[in-house]
């Protein structure tokens, strides 16, 4: 069920709002959780078991870490004190279980394909794993895994108080507005809202406005752009001009599509009194790749910064380590987006570009250009085609090439698309 579907807009949403506002305060989260599980189970009813299991693990481990099984208010763990062995085990249990599930469901097929390719290359045909088993990726697992992990990590660090009410916690993990396409809501952002939040007509109206903008973005902009991109990328062979046209259309498609889902999620949250942080901030107006990552999918960038980059050492251990950390984070970011080598390359190039900009002090190498021109470097399509003499020589276009990579999970196809874009296909 997608937000722009008939079933969602005309049946699911009115029913959720009716039940939510008709319920007494203490039952609202229960209703929201039941509807969220129904929303999630609509894609495949069996996936709800997986989400329920991970929710239970995190809930119990959170309480274990915070000593919440005892009576009384659950204490906030002191930030400066060392953690006990039990607390460390509880954290490891949740992190390992989440990563194991994500690894299995998202990367099993990719691993098998690569293993078989390697074995074939080595000529060891009898060693091939010729299994019919192929794993179906549960919807939104990448999002709710990160969201759920943020809870236990925040509790462990002492940034958030563990939650005793299981329904409230299940509501946080499964909340349908942001369940399948983000933004990744961190527990510390909504912990106080789960306890108390206001419901006003003004908030609801703002929710309607933001949801409507998201819906319009999706239907009127993202979908038509996607059709253009589909047509161009299905063509064989595509000319250089067509390839650029398709690339531009795809760049806008991913932005409008992704930001539309975020807008709709934020709008739906507001209708139920939740205030989620914004996820996109005009990323194509960025004047550098560093700035771009501050404006694009903000919830993922900040998640990776706080839960991966900083624990790796951030920029506290010298220049070389800082660059290595940046590269590792971006590689994993790429792999998080999808299980294919193109995503790894996508992450590697972004990591490389971030390192290059860090070498210059977080500025782009074209910083001497006027601001308008710098911004345009990141949105070639806006000025397409006039201002680009030789797109192949402008590394900033790599972003769009990378976007292209994300569309085409097969390396060969992505390579052919790049060749076409660079005008080398004739």
């Amino acid at each position: 069920m997608v937000f722009s579907s008939h079933l969602f807009f005309f049946y699911f949403l009115p029913l959720v709002l009716l039940v939510y506002y008709a319920s007494p305060q203490r039952l609202r989260h229960l209703g929201l959780t039941v509807f969220s599980y129904a929303f999630y189970g609509w894609a495949n009813p069996w996936f709800v078991l997986l989400m329920l299991a991970t929710t239970l693990i995190d809930y119990l481990c959170g309480l274990w870490m915070a000593g919440g099984f005892r009576r009384g208010e659950v204490p906030l763990l002191p930030t400066e004190r060392a953690r006990s062995k039990g607390q460390k085990i509880a954290l490891a249990l949740t992190v390992v279980s989440h990563l194991a599930l994500l690894g299995f469901f998202k990367y099993f097929n990719f691993a098998i394909e690569n293993y078989n390719s390697l074995i074939q290359t080595l000529g060891l045909y009898s060693w091939q794993w010729d299994t019919a088993l192929r794993v179906t990726l549960p919807l939104g697992i990448s999002f709710y895994t990160f969201q759920s992990m943020s809870y236990t990590i925040d509790v462990y660090r002492g940034d958030a108080r563990a939650i005793r009410n299981f329904i409230d916690f299940a509501c946080f993990v499964s909340m349908f507005p942001q369940l399948v396409a983000g933004p990744i809501i961190r527990f510390s952002e909504v912990a106080d809202q789960l306890r108390f939040r206001t419901h006003t007509a003004e908030k609801f109206a703002r929710g309607i406005a933001i949801f409507s903008v998201g819906l319009a973005k999706k239907i009127l902009l993202a979908n038509p752009c996607g059709k253009v991109a589909d047509t161009v990328f299905a063509a064989a062979p595509a000319s250089t001009t067509d390839s650029w046209y398709g690339l531009g259309a795809y760049s806008f498609q991913i932005y409008f599509d992704f930001s539309a889902y975020s807008d709709m999620a934020i709008g739906l949250g507001l209708m139920m009194g939740f205030m989620f942080a914004k996820n996109f901030d005009s990323p194509y107006q960025s004047a550098s790749i560093t700035e771009f990552w501050r404006r694009w999918h903000i919830s993922l960038s900040t998640w990776l910064r706080d839960y991966l980059h900083i624990p790796l050492g951030g920029n506290r251990h010298g220049t070389a380590r800082t660059y290595a950390n940046l590269a590792i984070v971006m590689l994993l970011d790429g792999l998080w987006h999808g299980a294919a080598w193109t995503f790894v390359i996508w992450g590697a190039i972004h990591g490389g570009m971030l390192v290059l900009e860090r070498l210059r002090g977080k500025t782009s190498y074209y910083e001497k250009l006027p601001l308008a021109a710098r911004a345009r470097m990141h949105r070639p399509v806006v000025d397409f085609p006039g201002s680009y003499g030789n797109p192949g020589l402008q590394p900033v276009h790599l972003f769009y090439l990378l976007s292209r990579q994300r569309r085409r999970p097969r390396l060969g196809r992505a390579r052919r698309a790049h060749v076409a874009v660079l005008g080398k296909n004739s």
Binding site: M1, S5, P45, D192, Q193, T198, A201, A209, M275
Partner: protein, 298 residues
């Protein structure tokens, strides 16, 4: 949360800045939104219930056909008798509706919806007639020409004899239908042999979409009026069939010549000038005779 840290609500208030919504406007927005979202399903459900009372639906062999209306959605849930028969975990698992049933229900609900049926023609008119845009099935060409999207895509897309295309075809074939042979060449040659064994000759006549004969109506960039665009694999496909002894009658050259020499339409127009038929079965009689007469000649 520490006491000095701002709550999310406070942060949001700061981010909003001076944007304000007056209370009356907020109430109007809420009322309009709720009416827009809730009225169509309420009306639809009332109509469906009334219809069911006057004429209950006939039992259907296909469960999913009975799920087109909301009142019938309860049939997605197992009946009490099935609950009572549950003895094992497998029995319990059998009660869960399949993803396919849910999808079918959603599609039927949308297709049979009063809102869809009322609004879809108007939306189509605005998108195609005014904005000159296409949809899932249509490309809007020049001078009001419409083109069948899958047909155009099959011409402009990758060669259909390439391994990648065939693998993709296998991959994208629905889970519920089987595709025994993704390679049309192998399938046709096999079919030819089977027919030949029974003394029947196979004649393959490739059908032509409008885009092959009127590419200039699809895009102004097509300047070679004599050329007939075909899928990248078409030439190889045709020659391979001929090599295998299969009769292939490709009418593209004849039709292209006819269009060039007489300037006549090689497709029938329907009632509305903008609506053109897609398939060659709608060739005008003159074209059909041009195509078939040479085969009938002694």
């Amino acid at each position: 949360m520490s006491g000095t840290q701002l709550t999310r609500e406070e942060v949001a208030r700061i981010e909003l800045g001076k944007t304000e919504i007056r209370p009356r406007l907020a109430r109007v927005m809420v009322a309009v939104f709720l009416a827009t979202a809730a009225l169509p399903p309420c009306l639809q459900t009332a109509m469906d219930v009334a219809k069911q009372r006057t004429a209950p639906p006939a039992p259907s062999a296909d469960d999913t056909q009975t799920l087109a209306t909301l009142p019938n959605a309860r049939s997605l849930l197992p009946r009490p008798a099935r609950w009572r028969r549950v003895r094992t975990l497998a029995d319990l698992a059998g009660l869960v509706p399949s993803a396919r049933m849910l999808r079918q229900f959603e599609d039927n609900l949308e297709d049979s919806s009063l809102a869809t049926r009322t609004l879809a023609p108007w939306v189509g008119w605005v998108v195609k007639g005014i904005l000159h845009g296409g949809d899932e099935q249509t490309y809007f060409g020049r001078d009001g020409w419409l083109f069948y999207r899958p047909s155009v895509d099959s011409v402009t897309g990758p060669g259909f004899l390439t391994a990648k295309w065939q693998n993709e075809r296998l991959r994208t074939t629905g889970k519920w239908s089987s595709l025994p042979q993704p390679d049309p060449l192998k399938a046709l040659i096999q079919f030819h042999r089977q027919l030949a064994a029974r003394g029947i000759a196979l004649v393959v006549v490739p059908t032509l979409g409008k885009e092959t004969l009127y590419p200039e109506k699809l895009t102004s960039r097509w300047t070679d009026r004599a050329a007939v665009p075909q899928n990248a694999s078409f030439g190889l496909f045709k020659s391979a069939l001929q090599t295998a002894g299969v009769n292939v009658f490709d009418p593209s050259t004849i039709l292209a010549d006819m269009k060039k020499s007489s300037g006549e339409d090689v497709y029938l127009r329907t009632g509305r000038p903008r609506q053109w038929n897609t398939w060659p079965r709608n060739w005008p009689p003159d074209c059909a005779s041009v195509i078939w007469c040479p085969r009938q000649a002694p």
